[in-house]
């Protein structure tokens, strides 16, 4: 098969998106929905069909030249290699299931064409990021996912808060994009190319200080999309969007784009220990920050949002520790169980009568279909890292990589990771108990759950639980499939003695158990939440929003006022008006000479005549002196 057919993978969702955009409302609803699902499912099938292309060195396909000017020669090209293939499969697969879920979730929505076309467009943009051969196509996808998340978060635009949440997401990620763009420009200036594979090949010939700078810029760019410190304020508010959006964008795909970027450029980024430490540090700090915030959240989706932030922090820590395979492993398992959690949360919200507050829920095992509880629990145990689940192995892999890192400073990060794991278990089971245990505390009426909202959860829960098989560590008898698949792209090979490995596993089990018991002790029997200063602090995300508002938003608006009213109106226009007034002032002075009176003019005559006469006489006298 021709390798240009690889372009069908991203183009299929794009075409379906465009068709839905233009014709969606005129076609029967079923047609639009089927089209949307086919777009993504078709891409999934194509990825499976073309899987062989990814083996070995991968396959590169070029569509046509995008920009050609001077030394710039960039085409639309994609690179289907061993790093991209599993990610593509995951994105298209999870997206297909979420599309099915969304069909059920949005069955009462009138504006469905816009929703499904944006969802498909998002998948296209994400695939552009994953499959991009050069950084400019990646940037196209990068901005594209930003745009789609803006459109999807603010989907119910009639409420101003939703629109504002969308704007916030766009702007905060755009700040990150600036750093990515600077890195892009810099890399082009140094290497003369934007092709990722060539940059990675030339990485060793770039001077170390430049490598550090570029890596830090890439890190900041990744932080924007992955909602890591300091660009994380948008993720919690992004929960204003419909639940399928949160599941797709903020669990499985967009927030992992940053991790993927760093993995893609790993040969460059890994050259600098400073950058790697920075990546790990940011991951660690974000992980613990988000975990503490999740402890105090009241809305179910916000808990999950902060937990996503925390888990992506783990992925960053893995990259920083040098293990690409570990990061991607956790990325894949996290996608599965977090998507399940979000979708189940959507069902839960439906059952609670559109109520978001977990303190007003409870006893939902009995209110809804019983399978919902089991599915939610499956996701929760993966998140908490209970033994033998997918989340357990992936998280343990990361902690092992941190623990066995040559640099002893990484033990600090390992410790932070361990503490965060404890907190994770705690808030996860807090969530489970508050939502499902005890008696129903709210006043809402349950809405019926369409079938499409229930059965896509099963495959995902299943895969999430069994996800450990992807990269089962050798010492428990596994074959480390993922690591071997990535081969030379996998980063550092984590070698540890059996004692260390067993010790860490036991520690992980102990932590999960402790966290569970603590949550059980605190939340099994319902107690009203305390509203003290600490919980408010954590609830508001350590007041990060307020800080950003004071530090950036207000001065920005003030500067706008200054430029517009202060400078333009007062200074520039004022100067011009002043000049004009001066001119009119002079003219009104001079105009006093024209009195319109005959006598004035006659006297002017006479005086002028006298002056002329005097001048002539003077000339005569001085001339006659010779």
């Amino acid at each position: 098969m021709n390798e240009s057919l690889l372009f069908l993978i991203p183009l299929l969702p794009l075409c379906c998106a465009v068709i839905n955009m233009v014709f969606g409302m005129r076609l029967p609803r079923l047609f639009a929905e089927v089209l949307a699902v086919t777009g993504v499912a078709g891409a999934f099938v194509l990825t499976l069909l073309f899987w062989g292309y990814a083996e070995g060195e991968g396959t590169r396909a070029v569509l046509f030249t995008w920009l050609n000017s001077g030394s710039v020669d960039i085409s639309f090209a994609l690179n289907f290699d061993r790093l991209a293939a599993p990610m593509t499969l995951m994105v298209t697969g999870v997206a297909s299931l979420i599309h099915l879920y969304a069909v059920g979730y949005m069955h009462e929505e009138e504006d469905y064409a816009r929703f499904f076309s944006l969802l498909n467009l998002f998948v296209f943009a994400m695939l552009a990021i994953i499959l991009a051969d050069n950084l400019l196509v990646l940037f196209l996808g990068w901005e594209g996912v930003g745009l789609c998340s803006y459109g999807l978060i603010g989907f119910w635009y009639r409420k101003l808060e939703n629109a504002k949440a969308g704007v916030k997401a766009f702007l905060v990620t755009r700040v990150g994009d600036v750093f990515l763009a600077i890195a892009l420009l810099w890399l082009f200036a140094i290497t003369g190319t934007l092709s990722i594979s060539e940059i990675n090949a030339q990485a060793t010939s770039i001077s170390p200080s430049v490598v550090i700078a570029v890596s830090l810029l890439l890190l900041l760019g990744a932080c924007g999309k992955s909602a890591q410190l300091p660009l994380m304020t948008w993720l919690a508010d992004a929960m204003a969007g419909p639940t399928p959006v949160s599941a797709l964008i903020h669990a499985a795909t967009m927030v992992t784009a940053g991790v993927y970027l760093l993995c893609r450029l790993f040969p460059l980024v890994s050259l600098s220990p400073v950058a790697m430490t920075a990546i790990t540090a940011i991951g660690a700090l974000t992980a613990i920050y988000a975990a503490t915030c999740a402890l105090a959240q009241r809305e179910i989706k916000r808990v999950l949002a902060y937990s996503t932030m925390s888990q992506v922090g783990y992925m960053f820590m893995a990259v920083g520790a040098g293990s690409v395979a570990g990061a991607m492993f956790h990325l894949l398992t996290h996608a599965f169980f977090k998507a399940v959690l979000f979708m189940a949360a959507g069902c839960v919200i439906h059952l609670a009568g559109e109520e978001n507050d977990i303190f007003k829920m409870g006893g939902l095992t009995r209110r809804g279909p019983v399978e919902l509880f089991w599915v939610f629990l499956a996701g929760a145990v993966c998140l908490a890292g209970l033994p033998l689940t997918g989340g357990f192995f992936s998280k343990d892999g990361i902690l092992l990589a941190l623990f066995t890192h040559p640099d002893p400073f990484y033990r600090v990060f390992w410790l932070i990771g361990v503490i965060t794991a404890l907190l994770t278990a705690f808030y996860t089971f807090r969530l489970v108990y508050l939502v499902f245990a005890g008696e129903y505390r709210g006043v809402g009426h349950p809405h019926a759950l369409p079938l499409l909202m229930r059965w896509p959860l099963w495959p995902l829960a299943f895969i999430g639980l069994l996800g450990g098989l992807l990269n089962l560590p050798a010492f428990v008898g596994g074959s480390e499939t993922l690591h071997h698949w990535y081969d030379n792209l996998a980063g550092r090979r984590v070698i540890a003695s059996h004692e260390v490995e067993w010790m860490l596993i036991l520690l992980a089990v102990a932590i999960a158990a402790v966290g569970w018991f603590a949550a059980h002790w605190r939340y099994r029997i319902y107690r009203a939440p305390q509203a003290n200063a600490l919980s408010r602090f954590l609830l508001n995300g350590w007041y990060a929003d307020t800080i950003v508002d004071r530090l950036f938003v207000r001065p920005f608006a003030a500067m706008g006022r200054f430029c517009s009213s202060g400078c333009d109106r007062t200074l520039f226009d004022g100067t011009l008006n002043g000049l004009a007034k001066m001119a009119t002032g002079w003219s009104s002075l001079i105009v006093q000479m024209t009195t319109g009176r005959l006598t004035t003019y006659l006297s002017a005559f006479a005086w002028g005549f006298l002056v002329l006469l005097g001048w002539f006489l003077l000339k005569l006298v001085s001339g006659g002196g010779h």
Partner: protein, 496 residues
């Protein structure tokens, strides 16, 4: 230049200038029949667009400095010749002008008062603009420069908004003062050249060889820059534009932002930089500072605005700041990006002004406080508004991004610091554009009004622009190709 005197072929370039003039005259003769005037001006502008398209397709690739060249003797006594010259950059500008004029004529279809005069002025404006882009003789250039000014003044002061008299007068006097200094510089250059070489000529090609002392060059350059800086516009000489754009009628804003502003920058490329290479070299950093200050100042001011037309006026200034930055970088990729950005900016911002005019027609207001939730009421209009706003803020895959990224890539290679600062301005563009979209499209509906969605005429105006926006974002190659040779030779400074 001697080998390129009048080629015995059809005078396409003169046709570009004469057709609109003829159309204008015919319009004036049909005062009593407004329907005829409309049809006539549409036919004329379509004919001009056809000629421009023909030139683009058939003469777009040429060897040598010029694609087409027409040279006829005019005022022999003073050495002023009628010289029209077309190269890659002028070709793009001509194409843009003719395209935007068709849209302007369609947009002005519903003008009620003094219809024949309105269309006559529009066509006269087109003739003037074509002349500016094509003229290669300084007297001819100056003539067309002023010719383009007068119809704009009348368009604003007769058919404009509430504050039109002041805005029109400000616009006129401001740009006139600038061009007055240019006139002095033209005459001075003419005299110096004539005294040196014995040949008194106004043709730019001849004047390129003038030997100037540093002081002379500095002053003459300043004279020309006075006109171009005001027209570009560069902050702090931009306040005329915000008022003029806000108060002018819809078709007038389209022309003003899409075309008239480009003449200032075009003047830099065609006249100021080639004639005074040393002064240019020393001035480039200052130009970059002006450009960056303009980028940020305009972006901040845009963020503060409530009137959507004024916001778009400031966004124009901001984008053109980026264009001038690309020019100041003096690098091939940056120059090509700047010129491409000029073209795409004309289309995207022009389309946004069209949409604002449509919104104002329907809702009667331009204030964001009184708009909102328009997406639900007029989905097609809302979608196009979103599309062009995204293009304007530089979303990859849409028009402005191609130009912007080329400018940034090129600038970074020469002056990385400038490119980094300019990138920050990109975030600002997102801030005010999203604020615009939010104020107009999202949020609760301000007042329940029954608003018709786009009519056929409006679709005809906007759909080609939308297609172009996507085309130029994804495949700008046809528009970049004519420029390569021209830009390379302009930057090298060596001209035939």
């Amino acid at each position: 230049m001697t080998e390129l005197t009048s080629l015995p072929q059809f005078p396409w370039l003169s046709l570009l200038v004469v057709l609109p003039l003829a159309g204008a005259l015919l319009c004036l003769m049909h005062r009593k029949r407004p329907a005829d005037c409309r049809a006539l001006s549409l036919a004329t502008s379509l004919a001009v667009f056809g000629v421009a398209l023909y030139l683009f397709i058939c003469h777009g690739q040429g060897e040598g400095r010029w694609l087409l060249y027409e040279d006829v003797s005019w005022i022999e006594r003073y050495g002023a010749r009628y010289v029209l010259a077309l190269d890659g950059i002028a070709l793009l500008m001509v194409l843009l002008t003719s395209f935007m004029q068709v849209s302007a004529v369609l947009l002005a279809w519903r003008v009620e008062r003094h219809v024949s005069s309105f269309f006559a002025l529009l066509l006269l404006l087109e003739a003037g603009l074509m002349g500016i882009f094509l003229a290669y003789d300084l007297v001819l250039f100056y003539l067309f420069w002023e010719v383009a000014l007068i119809p704009m003044f009348f368009l604003i002061s007769v058919w404009g908004g509430a504050n039109r008299r002041q805005a029109a007068l400000k616009f006129f006097l401001y740009t006139l003062v600038g061009s007055f200094f240019m006139l002095i510089a033209i005459i001075a250059l003419y005299q110096i050249h004539g005294a040196q070489s014995g040949v008194y000529s106004f043709v730019i090609g001849d004047l390129l060889q003038t030997q100037l002392t540093a002081a002379q060059e500095g002053w003459l350059f300043a004279g020309f820059m006075a006109a171009f800086i005001v027209k570009s516009p560069l902050v702090p000489f931009h306040t005329w534009l915000t008022d003029a754009l806000t108060e002018s009628p819809a078709a007038g804003s389209l022309d003003l932002t899409g075309l008239l502003l480009k003449t200032g920058i075009y003047g830099l490329i065609r006249v100021a930089f080639p004639l005074f290479p040393n002064a240019t070299e020393s001035f480039l950093p200052i130009l970059a500072v002006f450009a960056l200050v303009g980028l940020f100042h305009a972006a901040w001011s845009a963020y503060h605005q409530d009137d959507i037309k004024r916001l778009l006026a400031y966004s124009s200034i901001s984008h053109l700041g980026l264009v001038v930055l690309g020019l100041a970088a003096w690098q091939l990729t940056a120059w090509e990006g700047s010129i491409l950005l000029m073209v795409t900016h004309g289309i995207t911002t022009g389309a946004l002004f069209v949409l604002v005019a449509l919104i104002q027609e329907r809702t009667g207001t331009r204030s964001m406080k009184e708009l909102g939730g328009l997406w639900g009421q007029t989905p097609c209009l809302g979608f196009l508004f979103l599309l062009f706003s995204l293009a304007s803020l530089g979303l990859p895959g849409l028009a402005n991004f191609a130009g912007e990224i080329l400018v940034l890539l090129g600038t970074f290679q020469q002056h990385p610091f400038w490119a980094v600062i300019a990138l920050l301005g990109v975030v600002f563009a997102a801030a005010y554009m999203l604020r615009l979209v939010q104020g107009v499209l999202w949020g609760p509906v301000y007042k329940e009004r029954s608003l018709p969605d786009l009519t056929l005429r409006e679709w005809i105006i906007l759909l080609p622009m939308a297609i172009l926006v996507v085309w130029m974002g994804v495949y700008p190659e046809p528009f970049l190709a004519p420029m390569h040779g021209t830009v390379a030779s302009l930057l090298a400074g060596g001209l035939p």
